[in-house]
């Protein structure tokens, strides 16, 4: 190969032109891709959730709720187009969540963060939201301590304390004096156990045993036997949705607990995603929760219609409502800031925000930034061919009792 100084004039000229051309091309590409020159009216919302793996249904539910909300508002929120950027956490994975949220904030320059199914993921993202002053709306993660981790976190889902305290009060008023708790051994499960124990004790009842089940459990028969042997009148339980939930409720039915007279006191276990899989064995299960697809209100009918318009087979459950209401909050934040990126102004605008959600009347607590909502007592009943959570009683608006200590 000839040395540079041996190259003929023609070759050198050709090389110079190609280098110049390459530089020009690169500059053009850089400008073309630069977000600063892209249309400035688009608001970017980063949704962080599992889209693959055993919890992938949450990602789909969030996407359905969020996009249906934007469609129901005519395709734009406060006159701005919304661009969703979805990132897959695969499941509880705080390390990966941190990386994804960092990319969303620094590279994609999102204006708002949404999603978050699992507590560890939400906790990992909190410091990033705080440092970058990005409003972060939690659509699902249910541990009370999350909203304390950053001033920029708003939650539109629920917490275990919020739904368990009224359940404990109801149990005590209905003659149940001895209860055994069986929860999955992680954040929300432990929250639920603490909430039930403290409220039930206040009402004069006793929790005879507190069983904590490892998160990787698939065989619940031993735990069900322990529940039977405890001599309690009811079992309070909390498990994450999906395979653990399914396994436990099946074990409860198959090992004859209902026949033995041990009542089931749950919260999210009969949610509409898992409910059809239980079959008729689920009829009669009692839960306390903030959303049932069978809630009889005009807002709920509109919500369900909006979802079914996009996909006739869409599942309607608390995760979709969490995303729908989460987008409502983001909508109000966009309105308040006029589409500009101002985290402090956005959060200030939605503290105390009130509206009629598909679940009932709700508001954002100005102190804790958590949603205050009605909690209902429901029972699984068969309507036609379908299993539904029928609301028997309204416990009234509940705050997050876990933060109010």
């Amino acid at each position: 190969m000839p040395q540079t100084r041996d190259l003929s004039l023609r070759t050198r000229r050709r090389a110079a032109f190609s280098t110049a051309g390459l530089c020009a091309l690169l500059l053009a590409a850089a400008f073309g891709a630069s977000p600063a020159l892209a249309q400035s009216a688009s608001i970017k919302v980063g949704i962080v959730a599992p889209f693959s793996g055993p919890f992938a249904h949450y990602g789909t539910l969030f996407r359905n709720g969020a996009e249906a909300y934007v469609a129901s508002q005519g395709g734009k929120l406060a006159g701005k187009t919304v661009e969703f950027i979805y990132r897959d956490t695969g499941g509880p994975n705080p390390g990966l969540t941190r990386t994804l949220v960092q990319e969303l904030i620094v590279k994609d320059k999102v204006d708002y963060l949404g999603g978050f199914v699992f507590t560890p993921n939400a906790l990992a993202a909190a410091p990033l939201a705080q440092q970058s002053q990005t409003p972060m709306v939690v659509f699902n993660a249910a541990t009370s301590a999350i909203t304390d981790r950053s001033e920029f976190i708003i939650r539109t889902s629920y917490t275990l304390w919020q739904v368990t305290v009224p359940l404990a009060q109801w149990a005590s008023k209905n003659g149940i004096k001895k209860v055994v708790t069986a929860v999955t051994d992680y954040g929300p499960g432990i929250d639920g156990e603490k909430a039930f124990k403290s409220e039930f004790a206040k009402q004069g009842g006793t929790v005879v045993e507190s069983i904590r089940m490892p998160i990787s459990t698939t065989d619940f028969a031993p735990f069900v036997q322990r529940i039977k042997a405890s001599g309690a009148q009811a079992v309070y339980t909390f498990l994450p949705g999906g395979p653990p939930n399914l396994g436990f409720v099946k074990a409860y039915n198959e090992n004859g607990l209902a026949k033995a007279g041990i009542r089931f006191l749950g919260t999210a276990e009969t949610d509409e995603y898992d409910l059809p899989k239980f079959g008729d064995a689920a009829v009669g299960l009692t839960t306390a929760f903030h959303y049932s697809a069978a809630h009889p209100s005009a807002a709920n009918q509109k919500f369900i219609a909006a979802l079914k318009a996009r996909d006739a087979n869409a599942v309607v459950n608390y995760a979709v409502v969490g995303a729908w209401d989460g987008m409502h909050v983001i909508h109000k934040m966009i309105e308040a800031t006029g589409g500009q990126r101002d985290g402090v102004k956005a959060i200030a605008a939605v503290r105390g925000l009130q509206w009629e959600s598909p679940r009932g009347p709700v508001r954002i607590d100005p102190k804790t930034r958590h949603i205050v909502q009605n909690v209902y007592l429901r029972q699984v009943q068969k309507r036609g061919n379908e299993l539904v959570n029928v609301e028997l009683q309204n416990f009234g608006p509940q705050i997050d009792w876990g933060l109010d200590k």
Partner: protein, 285 residues
């Protein structure tokens, strides 16, 4: 006393599921000296086949079960004849890499075919009913699993020890060249053994679906448990696998009854202690 009985019963039921899945791997690993890390994937295939047959094609469980087992065995035979036979002479690392890759391919295929959610196998009323044993109730399915596990153990032990095929298998493993000279069809023996291992894995996948839910990551998630049972039991020993599966199953169940806050720690502690005591496995062939 009730507690001990409960631990024993649930432990044996869980151990039997582990045994049925692990015995196939013990055969391929111990008798054929082939490191097959796609064994969990075959179990998953069997389970998925049964679930889809029952749900989509409307077959009865009693028909879907043998069909799923046969289908998995057939799939194993085909993969062995086409691809895996080239790996017998290769190093263990090559075998590991290939079979793990195969697992990933099967995981992705399951995800693409049936989605990421759990596949439920609808049990027939005979198996779904609770059986009252006096001191407790138990789903009939668990008793069925224990019965099948014992039948598999007996059949496998009898095949290896008393049939001509068993003789061929042992000869082919110990001295393949001499065996070939004597007219033993080595390729047939290898293919049939692998197919039998895969079929047993499929059986374990179907029967274990209540305890180990079928979803795409099944192939790798429970592989560790199976490897532990095979290592502790002794590679190639069917009775060793049975013993190890029952022992470890009971330890795991006991820990759920007594030490549930410790998660899987007792299981792996038991594994470590048993391997430290008998590094070659409980009953080496």
């Amino acid at each position: 006393m009730t507690l001990l009985l409960n631990i024993a019963l649930d432990g044996v039921a869980y151990g039997m599921v582990l045994f049925i899945i692990a015995v196939g791997m013990s055969v391929t690993l111990g008798l054929m000296r082939f490191v097959n890390l796609s064994h969990g994937a075959f179990a998953m295939c069997g389970g998925y086949a049964a679930a889809l047959m029952v749900r989509e094609a409307g077959f009865s469980f009693w028909l879907a079960l043998p069909l799923a087992v046969l289908a998995t065995g057939l799939a194993g035979a085909v993969i062995e004849a086409l691809v895996l036979r080239h790996l017998y002479r290769r190093s263990e690392l090559d075998q590991v890499l290939f079979t793990i890759g195969l697992s990933f391919v099967l995981i992705a295929s399951a995800n693409a075919l049936a989605g990421p959610q759990v596949q439920l196998i609808a049990l027939p009323p005979l198996l779904a009913q609770p059986v009252d044993l006096g001191w407790r109730t138990l789903p009939a399915q668990r008793l069925f699993v224990i019965a099948v596990g014992l039948a598999v153990a007996a059949a496998a032990a009898w095949t290896v020890a008393y049939t001509r095929f068993g003789v061929w298998l042992r000869a082919a493993v110990d001295h393949p060249d001499t065996a070939a000279t004597l007219g033993i069809p080595i390729r047939l023996v290898q293919c049939a053994s692998f197919a039998a291992g895969a079929a047993l894995a499929g059986l374990g996948g179907v029967l274990g679906a209540e305890l180990m839910p079928l979803e795409p990551y099944y192939a790798l998630k429970y592989l560790v448990l199976v490897l532990v049972v095979v290592a502790v039991g002794g590679m190639g020993s069917i009775s060793g696998s049975l013993l190890a599966a029952l022992a470890l199953g009971t330890v795991e169940t006991a820990s759920k009854y007594l030490l549930s806050g410790w998660g899987s720690l007792p299981f792996f502690l038991a594994m470590a202690l048993l391997l430290a005591w008998r590094p070659q496995g409980l009953l080496r062939r």
